[in-house]
Every structure is written in structure tokens, then in C-alpha cells.
């Protein structure tokens, strides 16, 4: 991470700012009845009539050291939640939509093997949004990069612009097999949405991370990277993590440990 600065570089906060931050934290902690007991949860329980807020930035930590060889649970959980056909079962595997995929990497010198899931990295500066000619590719206020299928014309510029090969085009008619919560259709580009339907419902987790935890691997942690008290922020503070293609300076929402 080239943009990391040593701590001592930052100017000390003024007393006023300190006081303000303290008060803000107390307010944000929200009606704490007792330590750890809250009347409402900050960030996760957004009311359904409230717009996604930039106070939150959803992100994911992938711990590649915990990701199991041969395990495909995150991929099948994603396909079940979002209703895309697994590539192996598709009639046209080469052009089948794929929101998340498992990669097995091997260091040619040391033969060390690394396992990791690869999906949309939910960049803060997404190249797919830059190139989209219709504005269909967009970043939501809470950092989730999405495709507005109502304006997508299927030109696939975003697929070419994405450094992570994260996006797919739906080539075949889906014949009403979509999930009510996840509209998808022929001629539109799609990718990982960080399970936006679950996030908006207030689940605060994605299908892949839930499946990984259920399988006992705990390699995926999803959460609000802007909330210093969230599980993901704590883990990111402790673990050395990398962004894939950090040289592109895209400020990714998905961080990898152990690659």
C-alpha cells in the first residue's frame, strides 16, 4: 500500500476537534444502555426509505491463508443468492456469467500455492464507471459499484476496462428464472453487487461471507470500512493486506491478506 503514511506524520488534532470527535462518537454510539447493548445499530440498520449514505463504505477482507483448496462454497452461495447458473452447468461455459470465481495461483519459483476468490473489487475510482457511455455503470454512495440495467446497452466497454475481469454479459435469455430480489437480463452487463439486496435489508453480510463462515473457514469478512469498530476495520488494522494491482491506485473495497 503505497498511500500509507507513518502515523507521526499526521498533525495532532486540536482540542476542539478532539472534543467534537468525542461528542460525535458518543452520539454515533447511539443510546448505549450498557456497554455492548444498543437500542439501534449504527450504519447497518438503515431505514428502508433512507438512501445509502457515504458515511458507510462497504468492503471485504479476503484472508487467502484461510481460503481452503478445492472449496467452492462462496461461489455456489453467490449463485444461489443471485440466481446465476454455475459455469460448470452452463451450456456455454466460456460466456457464462460469473460474479465470483475461485483462483488457484502457484509461485513458479517456490511452488507455493495460493487460493483466493476474485470478484468485483468495488473500487473507489472504478474504471468501469469512467468508460460507461450511458452512465449505467455507477458507484453507489456506500461504495458499492453497480450496473443500472435500465440504462445498460450491453456494449461491454466496462468489461474491457475492468482490470479484474469481474464483469460478465448475459448472452442467453433467462426465461423468468431470476430471483425477485435480483433482476438480471439478457444483453446487460453484471457483476458482484456485494449482495446489495441483503445489505439494503440490513443483513450486513454477503452470501459468500456467510457461506465461508458456515463452512468454518472464516476467510471472508464483510463490513463497513468507515466504522472503526467494525470487525473488518479491526482486522484490517491488524493484518498486512494488499490490493490487487495496487499500482492502478483504484482504492479497492476488497483487500487480500496472504497474497
Amino acid at each position: 500500500m503505497s498511500d500509507m503514511k507513518p502515523r507521526s506524520d499526521s498533525t495532532p488534532a486540536s482540542p476542539e476537534r478532539r472534543r467534537f470527535v468525542g461528542a460525535a462518537t458518543a452520539t454515533a454510539a447511539g443510546l448505549a444502555i450498557a456497554p455492548g447493548v444498543m437500542l439501534y445499530e449504527v450504519a447497518h440498520g438503515r431505514a428502508e426509505d433512507q438512501a445509502a449514505s457515504s458515511a458507510v463504505r462497504w468492503g471485504m477482507l479476503v484472508d487467502a491463508t484461510k481460503c481452503a483448496t478445492g472449496c467452492n462454497d462462496c461461489v455456489s452461495a453467490c449463485s444461489t443468492e443471485n440466481g446465476w447458473t454455475p459455469v460448470a452447468e452452463s451450456k456455454h461455459p466460456k460466456q457464462a456469467p460469473q460474479w465470483i470465481r475461485k483462483l488457484e495461483l502457484q509461485d513458479p519459483l517456490t511452488q507455493m500455492e495460493t487460493n483466493l476468490p476474485m470478484m468485483c473489487q468495488h473500487c473507489a475510482e472504478p474504471p468501469c464507471v469512467d468508460v460507461c457511455p450511458t452512465g449505467a455503470s455507477f458507484k453507489r454512495a456506500d461504495g458499492i459499484v453497480l450496473v443500472n440495467r435500465h440504462t445498460c446497452i450491453g456494449c461491454r466497454y466496462c468489461m474491457m476496462a475492468c482490470p479484474y475481469k469481474a464483469r460478465s454479459l448475459v448472452h442467453e435469455p433467462l426465461n423468468d428464472t431470476q430471483k425477485p430480489d435480483v433482476p438480471r437480463g439478457i444483453g446487460c452487463v453484471e457483476a458482484c453487487t456485494f449482495c446489495v439486496q441483503k445489505v439494503d435489508r440490513g443483513d450486513g453480510n454477503t452470501a459468500c461471507a456467510e457461506a465461508c463462515t458456515a463452512a468454518g473457514h472464516n476467510a471472508l469478512v464483510f463490513g463497513d470500512m468507515n466504522d472503526p469498530e467494525s470487525e473488518i476495520s479491526k482486522r484490517l488494522r491488524e493484518l498486512p493486506t494488499k490490493q490487487v494491482r495496487a499500482d492502478l491506485n483504484l482504492n479497492l473495497g476488497v483487500r487480500y491478506h496472504g497474497i
Partner: protein
């Protein structure tokens, strides 16, 4: 002879009227009128019927932009909620058969519906929408484990309940 003809005419007219009356659709004025089935659930739509018939596309489009771009998922004006109430008992869908709620009027007015190129026409939790009936049947074993906790028998039996 004249009287006989008149009698014949009266008989024919009566027969014709009786035949026309036996049809569900009155034959007057060209194409048959759309069948507007009452919603399976609920008493009153989110707005008056007259307003909805004329303006449903406007409220749907407005709500769609709020939902997609900002993540506002209120139930009023949500297409998903339309489907939850208006899916037909027979097909479990709003657009599978020609008498289903959306298709019925749209084919009469010759207006193509694009919604269901991407959106499901069936409500969540129905037998028709059950994941095992979709393309994800490969995931059976995991779903079976969830089924006891998440999808109740009433929900499985569909909107007819």
C-alpha cells in the same frame, strides 16, 4: 308470408342476442376487452384504480430510479409488491398467461412490457419461485437444510393460500 318473415327475423335476432350474451366478452367494438382480475391479496391498491391504470408506469419508473441508484426500497410503488398482490392464482405469475394481470391490459393496448425481461414475474416464496424449480437445483442439499427454518409450508403452497 310477410308475417312469417318478421317472425323469422325476431327468432334470429333473439338467438343472436342470446349467443352474444353467452360469451364472457361482449363482442361490441372490435377486440375483446382485457380481463382485469382482482388482486389475490389486499383490498385496495396503493392508489385509486383510475390513477393506477393511467399512471402506474410513472410511479414505477420513479421508484425504480430511487431503488437502483440510492438503495431506497420502500414497499409502496415497488414492482415486487405489485407482483406479490397481482400474481394470478392459476399461473402464480403476472405475465405468464394472456389473462395474467399485466399482460391482459398490455396486449389489449399493444404496449410491450420490458420489465419482465429482467424482473421475475412471480412473487417470492411461492412454489413457482422456489429455488428448486429454478436453474439452481444443483444446490439442493444446502437448501434442504435451510428449508425448515426459512420457507414455511404456507409460503411454499403459494399465493393461493
Amino acid at each position: 308470408m310477410k308475417r312469417l318473415l318478421a317472425l323469422g327475423a325476431v327468432v334470429l335476432t333473439t338467438a343472436a342476442l342470446a349467443w352474444a350474451g353467452s360469451e364472457a366478452q361482449p363482442k361490441t367494438g372490435g377486440a375483446p376487452k382485457p380481463v382485469i382480475a382482482k388482486a389475490v391479496k389486499g383490498e385496495q391498491c396503493v392508489e385509486d384504480n383510475d390513477y393506477m391504470r393511467r399512471n402506474h408506469m410513472k410511479v414505477l419508473n420513479h421508484h425504480r430510479d430511487e431503488t437502483v441508484l440510492e438503495g431506497i426500497r420502500t414497499k409502496k410503488y415497488s414492482l415486487k409488491e405489485c407482483i406479490n398482490c397481482h400474481a394470478s392464482e392459476k399461473t402464480g405469475s403476472v405475465a405468464a398467461a394472456k389473462d395474467d394481470f399485466c399482460v391482459s391490459c398490455h396486449s389489449y393496448a399493444a404496449v410491450k412490457i420490458d420489465c419482465f425481461d429482467c424482473h421475475s414475474t412471480k412473487p417470492q416464496g411461492t412454489m413457482a419461485m422456489h429455488p428448486l424449480n429454478a436453474e439452481t437445483a444443483h444446490y439442493k442439499h444446502k437448501l434442504a437444510a435451510q428449508a425448515t427454518s426459512k420457507v414455511s409450508a404456507e409460503e411454499m403452497a403459494g399465493v393461493a393460500q
